[in-house]
């Protein structure tokens, strides 16, 4: 698949090319992606504006707003830190070591992404009522979100040039320091997604009885049916998001991450010294994040009477619909993310910054806010699409663009600009160089991003509920219907199928780096 594998050239430690003007062939599609991502924010401005300055100030000056902002940020910080530890350590163990059963662990590691966090929270509270609160919220969100870090880091690790490590080791530096330095873009991109996911999360935290920022947004819709305070709070969330995105960009810095373009050798397999300990760690995470929900789901099935209502035909239809819209969503999102990701990795300047930040700006908004904005826009400007499947696919692109952009950016950053320069010296246009050299090298990372979007889209609920064609059911909407009437036995197969389907991309992604070691 990667045809350039044999023509390696040592990378110079150059900063990623601070390239000049963005060519229109990249700029135009990237601008389309950015505009799509910004659509919900435009809607929020309209809605917030209706209330006038007085309402805006009143909402922002509530003591509760500040209190809940602090709580949300604290939760996001703790969960992001833990996800980074879990995600990076698992990726290292699976991709680079002789951990027994690492292929299996590689497959299992991505599965939690398909468990809706409200389902995970419910299973924990049902089994261990005392877990509710901050600790429970941290536990559930960490177990659900660490794949956001694991997937890009595993993809990056699999393609890292072992020569770098050998040089570092020969110079007396630890292997960790050099590996971590090179993994930073992938880990930071994943961490950013985790932080934004936690900020926008509502279902799991409310079941864990931990009030956060989004609680107020939901209360605004559910209790007062007033969309203005929700819009004001949503805009505040956008502001917080932009600060976090800028902070992440700063930690990412401008260091050179490029590895040698062609991995001429496979990275050496690291022999674990504390194998039992490593096994316990990987096994423990898998047991908590995958085993526990599966056991709970199994218990639902045997303990409930509603299992009698199960109809295999409905199950099959839900699977087909879920696969279709999620796959289309992953393809569309990735296609939109490629130009933005390339620009973010290769270009500096205001245009590049604005494009990248636009993609992220709305990512912490709760799904219901994005869903309502698309209702508002589609009814007015795209009536034929309203409540048709393509709009659901577009909604996924708006919701999950950052996941794909982060993956593309990290992957492109890892391929050396010097190879593009060589290609250009051989007469390629800048775009031609990207197309023929960088993208093929970045392909595994791009694929990891697409898988991330696919997994996340499968469990998406608020936008799917509001925008789906009448009568279309996905696994997530069926799961919502069954749990909503306390029919846990009938809900069980839908939850189990979500995890089973998630195993497919998880298998492909987890499988690849591990087999390479053994070839």
């Amino acid at each position: 698949m990667i045809a350039t594998r044999s023509q390696g050239r040592p990378a110079r430690g150059t900063a990623p090319g601070t390239l000049r003007r963005v060519p229109p062939a990249l700029l135009v599609p990237a601008a389309v992606a950015a505009l799509l991502a910004l659509a919900p924010i435009g809607y929020l401005v309209v809605r917030a504006g209706e209330g006038g300055l007085e309402t805006v100030l009143r909402v922002l000056s509530r003591p509760r707003t500040l209190e809940l902002t602090v709580r949300s940020l604290g939760l996001a910080a703790v969960v992001t830190a833990l996800c980074t530890v879990v995600g990076v350590s698992l990726a290292w163990l699976v991709v680079r070591t002789d951990l027994p059963g690492r292929r299996l662990f590689g497959v299992l590691a991505a599965l939690p992404l398909a468990v809706p966090s409200y389902v995970a929270a419910y299973t924990w509270v049902a089994a261990l009522p005392r877990v509710a609160g901050f600790g429970g919220a941290v536990l559930v969100l960490t177990l659900c979100c660490y794949p956001y870090v694991y997937l890009p880091v595993a993809a990056a690790l699999g393609r890292m040039d072992p020569a770098m490590e050998e040089v570092a080791l020969s110079l007396g530096r630890s292997r960790f320091s050099v590996v971590w330095r090179r993994l930073r873009p992938a880990a930071a991109a994943g961490g950013l997604l985790v932080a934004l996911y936690v900020l926008g999360e509502f279902g799991a935290v409310s079941i864990m009885r931990f009030d956060v920022f989004t609680t107020q947004i939901y209360t605004s819709y559910r209790a007062s049916f007033d969309r203005t305070p929700a819009a004001v709070l949503g805009l505040l969330l956008v502001l917080i998001t932009l600060v976090i995105v800028a902070a992440e960009a700063r930690t990412r810095g401008r260091a050179a991450y490029a590895f040698r373009g062609a991995v001429a050798r496979r990275p050496a397999v690291v022999r674990l010294r504390l194998k039992p300990l490593a096994l316990a760690w990987a096994g423990g995470i898998a047991a908590l994040a995958v085993g526990f929900p599966l056991v709970s789901i199994g218990y639902w099935l045997v303990a409930g009477a509603s299992a009698a209502r199960l109809r295999p035909g409905e199950l099959g239809e839900a699977v087909a619909a879920t696969l279709a819209v999620s796959a289309a969503g992953a393809v569309l999102t990735t296609a939109l993310a490629v130009p933005v990701g390339i620009i973010a990795a290769r270009y500096r300047g205001r245009t590049a910054t604005v494009l990248e930040q636009s993609a992220y700006a709305g990512h912490a908004l709760p799904g219901i806010v994005v869903a309502l904005s698309l209702v508002f826009l589609a009814v007015r400007y795209a009536a034929p699409l309203y409540q048709e499947a393509p709009l659901v696919v577009i909604a996924y692109a708006v919701l999950f663009l950052p996941a794909a952009v982060g993956a593309v950016r990290a992957a492109v950053l890892q391929s050396p600009p010097v190879l593009e320069e060589v290609a250009r010296s051989l007469g390629r246009t800048p775009l031609g160089a990207v197309r023929e050299v960088t993208l093929p090298l970045a392909f595994p990372g791009v694929l990891a991003g697409a898988a991330l979007v696919f997994l996340t889209a499968m469990k998406e609920l608020p936008a799917t509920l509001l925008l789906r064609p009448t009568g279309m059911e996905t696994l997530a909407t069926r799961l919502w219907t069954e749990t909503g009437s306390a029919s846990y036995a009938a809900a069980a197969p839908y939850a189990a199928l979500l995890m089973l389907l998630a195993a497919i991309p998880g298998f492909l992604l987890g499988h690849r780096p591990a087999t390479r070691d053994e070839a």
Partner: protein, 350 residues
């Protein structure tokens, strides 16, 4: 490189979609409505936005189809989110009928002027307390607020919500302040007992370490698994759980409060017809069906709710509606829901 070509080919899809979207917007009103569009009034179609769960309502919708011959399309969702969706759709709403879990979501549409007044004969089937004062929505089934308690721990359940602030229940009571039914109860508390007493009750409850839950099911589970001893919920959640798990798995019991206590408020699930509906006549037929004997009996027997139309018996095991001593409160006094919310915000509960 073939990889890029593949990606480029895929990139064409979004561009086409966006162009399609733009065309749709450009042609505006002239655009043909989709298959779900309510604009084609070609006899007998009806789009219902239902905030009530499909498992509870779908069998009733089937009977509605059979009884009226209407082609009924139902979009299920959360009541409040569907209300917000209808508000965003505005004049272009695709909904003909809104079937809401609670009166609050219907009131929001009334306030926005989106519901049409129902004919008086339809309204008169239901007691005035359970419908909008201006006739824009009507309740179709009732649910009583109750105290759920753990008989293993609580021998004599409280007879009023005011007893729950007692120190002996410290940390043992669960409530769901963001829940619509709970908020209607607080409205009842304010109207019946006065603003000051309502505020004091909320503050005392909070000081008594009352546990906050996201919804009624979570409270019920917490009582059943021994985490707390008492909870404020709607009665039918208990019956739903018993139907799923069997009575032996549900150790809790329900206490219906006597003497017109605010904690015995009866809420309704109800329906309203959209003003802009192209199928208003069909929607009205659906409302009539929901208030007919067959549907009312369905609510009594299947969802264990209270039928609101006279002459239909409640499910066995449930105290009859007129024996409930529900407080005398007009549910259509929705304007004061906002004051309830302000109060809950002041106390720091939402």
């Amino acid at each position: 490189m073939s990889v890029f070509r593949r990606i480029a080919a895929v990139a064409v899809v979004p561009v086409l979609m966006i162009m399609l979207a733009a065309c749709g917007g450009g042609s505006g009103e002239s655009a043909a409505p989709g298959p779900t569009g309510s604009a084609d009034a070609s006899g007998g179609t009806l789009t219902v936005y239902s905030g009530r769960n499909e498992n509870l309502i779908a069998p009733l919708i089937d009977r509605l189809k059979a009884a009226t011959g209407l082609d009924v399309q139902v979009r299920y969702g959360d009541s409040a989110e569907l209300a917000a969706q209808i508000l965003e759709e505005g004049d272009n709403t695709r909904a003909d009928l809104f079937f809401s879990q609670d009166a609050g979501a219907l009131g929001a549409l009334t306030k926005a002027g989106m519901l049409a007044a129902l004919p008086q004969p339809i309204l008169d089937k239901v007691p005035a307390a359970y419908r909008a004062a201006d006739g824009t929505w009507v309740g179709v089934s009732g649910r009583s607020r109750v105290i759920v308690y753990d008989p293993r721990e609580v021998e004599n359940p409280p007879r009023s919500v005011f007893e729950l602030t007692d120190a002996k229940y410290r940390g043992q009571v669960g409530w769901a302040p963001t829940n619509a039914s709970f908020q209607s109860f607080v409205t009842a508390l304010r109207v019946l007992s006065g603003e000051d007493r309502a505020r004091k009750w909320l503050e005392d409850m909070k000081a008594n370490d009352t546990k906050t839950f996201p919804n009624n099911n979570a409270i019920l589970d917490a009582v059943d698994n021994g985490e707390i001893r008492l909870g404020l919920i709607n009665h039918y959640y208990w019956y739903e759980k018993v139907a799923e798990k069997g009575e032996s798995a549900v150790p809790s019991k329900l206490a219906f409060l006597p003497g017109g206590d605010p904690g015995a408020l009866v809420n309704v699930a109800g329906v309203g017809v959209l003003k802009n509906s192209a199928n208003a006549a069909a929607a009205q037929r659906a409302v009539e069906f929901l208030l007919g004997a067959e549907a009312q009996k369905y609510f009594a027997d299947e969802t264990k709710e209270y039928p609101l139309v006279a002459g239909v018996a409640t499910a066995p095991g449930l105290p009859p509606l007129d024996s409930l001593n529900a407080p005398d409160l007009d549910l259509s006094r929705l304007e004061s829901l906002e004051q309830t919310l302000t109060l809950l915000q002041d106390v720091g509960l939402v």
